[in-house]
Amino acid sequence: MDIKMQTADRNLLLELSGELDHHAAKNAIRELELAVDAALPRRLLLDFGGVTFMDSSGIALLLRAKRCMDALDGSMQVCHVQPQAKRVMDAAGIGRLIHIKQEGTV
């Protein structure tokens, strides 16, 4: 799992790529927390375009990101979710808590 980061005007874009399973999520959640702590963004955009596989560990990452952004009174969105990851998100009902959109830029 690789995470690329871009910040502009208190918008934080994290581009995730690779397989997001429990093995990868341990580091990915830590990296996400560090990035949010450093940028203190108003808006967080997680680009899942490069995530080729995801299990419920990805749900844990999204819930963690949501909690981080709630603590900052900010917002978050997830974009470019691939079909397998989308089906995991749908099975977990995460769309009720987090806005998932198909197109997005910071």
Binding site: D21, H22, H23, K26, F53, I59, A60, L63, R87, A91
Partner: protein
Amino acid sequence: MRKSVNYIRLEFPSRSSNEGFARMAAACFASQMDPTLNEVEDIKTAVSEAVTNAIVHAYPDSIGKISLKAKICEGNILEISIKDTGKGIPNIDKARQPMFTTGGEGRSGMGFTIMESFMDALTVHSTPGRGTTVTMRKKIASRANGQR
């Protein structure tokens, strides 16, 4: 008990680096059933959840053995069992509830929900102190009458 047409059995230590191997091995074995891409992804996702559960919950403070058995049964049904000899689950009904987890911040409590959603049937047998076996079945639709 359905008659088995073909099977594999794997054993590996409960290291998280084996999660990818386990789901790929199950998916590669299932490929002889000529599944659709969605079916392959369903199998990979469900195996990933079951193996992760064993790593996180069966052996929280140690490295133990996990065995994976995949079986092709008559009627083009794939049966996958993930077995550990770890802590066991004291209350299976509670463990299967969505959002319930004892795994802390890194877990979502959605593992069983996703296994149930991506496979046709899921059974869990567990004895505290002895271990857990999760068995999942899925009918592979694309070659309902086919066997190789």
